[in-house]
């Protein structure tokens, strides 16, 4: 059967750099845009819609549109942290379906490594943040905030460090085949649990990499997709959600995926078991574990069992995930991993993933982004994608 799709992903590009000391952020935006347009067989003059996150230089997307020489009649700068680009895909599809644009460009770029970011600094965005006084003095940093989610999940469901470690092990099995991956050594469960404790219960190898670079996506109307050929990938469903501390009544054992996933699956009229491949946001191993449960790949609390024994390794397990090595091993450009999640899902559906990790006859795939922090405020974005003939 051939499923309806309101729009297609026609172009993808992941910047090969992982440390961009010699490039500006605008330059990186332009490089990824050119890469994705070339991949799609389009030029910048075809672009009439532009999407970027709130981190891009300038007010909204205006400075980047000017830098790249885009003439646009539609823009969206929705900011949900690392999930922004997954959300942007959904918004681009809706804009195209409404006739507001025909060729949407989505870009992400950043250089935290070149700028010397470490994981120890408090994330302080300043300004008029209402929660700031009640959080910053306690020194919340990304690792201890995710550590608290992991600790609570372990307490409620008996999840173990060894089970979390399997997620890194699976990512490392995939990353060994990616020449651009920052960490290419295959690791074992023992390697992960014996790596230094950063913030209990998360070890160094439970954490993602810090990397520079970025990526871009081109979303086009069905008419344009038809003219570009069968490398275009269908967008079958999209869901998003914001989860927060809810006035002091919250549960850290789930993420916004518990809402965005069902919305996306319902729109696509598909279920988790239909997915041949999944890109799951992996800032930390716990992020993957909670998200897999929330998306319905297994029951809540069973994530530890589900990810064990190589179940996420392509060619070995039931749910091949993050076959590029993910944020855990390959790339987490600008500390925002949603972009690369969509890119690898598209590679899989095109049959263009590395042969050693390509899922045979990959027809349906999911990409999920998690933004902000799962222990405070988090934005979720889920897309269900299908091969051109899906």
């Amino acid at each position: 059967m051939s499923r309806m799709s309101k729009a297609y992903i026609a172009g993808i590009y992941e910047h090969p750099t992982r440390k961009a000391v010699d490039k500006t952020i605008p330059q990186l935006h332009a490089e990824v845009a050119i890469g994705a347009l070339k991949d799609a067989g389009l030029t910048k003059d075809d672009v009439d819609g532009y999407f970027c996150d709130g981190d891009a230089p300038g007010l909204g997307g205006m400075s980047m549109a000017e830098y790249m020489g885009l003439n646009i009649t539609y823009t969206d700068t929705t900011e949900t942290g690392g999930s922004s680009y997954v959300v942007h895909v959904g918004h681009a599809v809706e804009a195209i379906a409404a006739g507001k644009c025909n060729v949407a460009l989505i870009t992400l770029a950043g250089r935290p490594r070149a700028e010397g970011l470490t994981t120890l600094g408090a994330r302080d965005r300043g300004g008029e943040l209402p929660e700031r006084g009640f959080e910053i003095p306690y020194a919340p940093v990304i690792t201890n905030m995710y550590g608290m989610a992991a600790m609570r999940h372990m307490y409620e469901y008996g999840t173990t460090s060894e089970q979390l470690a399997w997620i890194k092990v699976a990512a490392s099995h995939h990353a060994q085949h990616n020449e651009h991956a920052l960490l290419r050594d295959v690791v074992t469960v023992e390697d992960v649990v014996n790596s230094p404790m950063i913030s209990d219960p998360l070890h160094r190898l439970d954490c993602c990499v810090i990397s520079d670079g970025g990526g871009a996506l081109i979303v086009v109307s069905p008419e344009i997709a038809k003219s570009l050929g069968d490398r275009c990938v269908k967008v079958l469903g999209h869901g998003e959600a914001v989860k927060h501390l809810n006035g002091g009544r919250f549960d850290l054992t789930y993420t916004g995926a518990a809402k965005s996933g069902p919305i996306a699956f319902a729109e696509a009229n598909l279920k988790p078991a239909d997915m041949d491949y999944a890109s799951i946001y992996d800032s930390f191993t716990i992020t993957v574990l909670e998200t897999i449960e929330d998306l319905g790949f297994c029951e809540k609390g069973q994530g530890g069992k589900f990810v064990s024994d190589g179940n996420l390794i392509s060619g070995v397990g039931k749910l091949p995930f993050n076959t590029d090595g993910g944020g855990l091993c390959n790339n987490h450009p600008s500390n925002r991993g949603g972009m690369t999640k969509v890119i690898e899902a598209v590679r899989q559906l095109r049959g263009e993933a590395h042969p050693k990790v390509q899922v045979p006859d990959c027809t349906l795939a999911l990409a999920h982004g998690t933004g902000g922090q799962i222990s405070t405020r988090t934005g979720a974005g889920t897309v269900i994608l299908g091969r051109n003939d899906a």
Binding site: L120, G133, P137
Partner: protein, 131 residues
């Protein structure tokens, strides 16, 4: 227990929250409760996030609660315990656990409020394990 305790950055204080920080200086943990829906919320706001009423008022919390979750930040120069504590009043707040051996900190353990001076002479509520 860490031999040293880290210094605490000043909180941001604004007209909605200054009463909370004054209370802290006086050794009180103040909460905001909504008179319309009866619910306590955290962090304190003028407008209730549960029902949107602006009929909210301050009261002094018991200062007692249980650890909801925690993480020991071992990589910091002076390691510390990041935590969420669920107060007896039903809301959960971000905090640090102090004066306690790291090995004794567990989810579900009873804690009580205490206060620490910040760098700019404000006061910050933190928690310690109940004896």
């Amino acid at each position: 227990m860490s031999p040293q305790e880290r210094t605490y950055q000043d909180p941001d204080i604004n007209m909605e929250t200054e009463r909370y920080w004054e209370g802290s200086k006086n050794g009180q943990l103040l909460m905001k409760k909504c008179n319309a829906c009866g619910k306590t919320h955290f962090y304190p706001r003028t407008i209730c996030p549960v029902c949107s009423s602006s009929d909210t008022e301050w009261y002094e919390a018991s200062g007692k609660g249980k650890i909801y979750s925690y993480s020991i930040m071992r990589r910091a120069k002076i390691p510390y315990v990041m935590a969420y504590v669920t107060l007896d009043e039903g809301v959960t707040m971000m905090t640090n656990i102090v004066e306690s051996d790291f090995d004794d900190v567990k989810i579900g353990k009873a804690v009580e409020v205490t206060f620490r001076d910040t760098e700019g002479n404000q006061s910050l509520p933190v928690f310690r394990l109940c004896k």
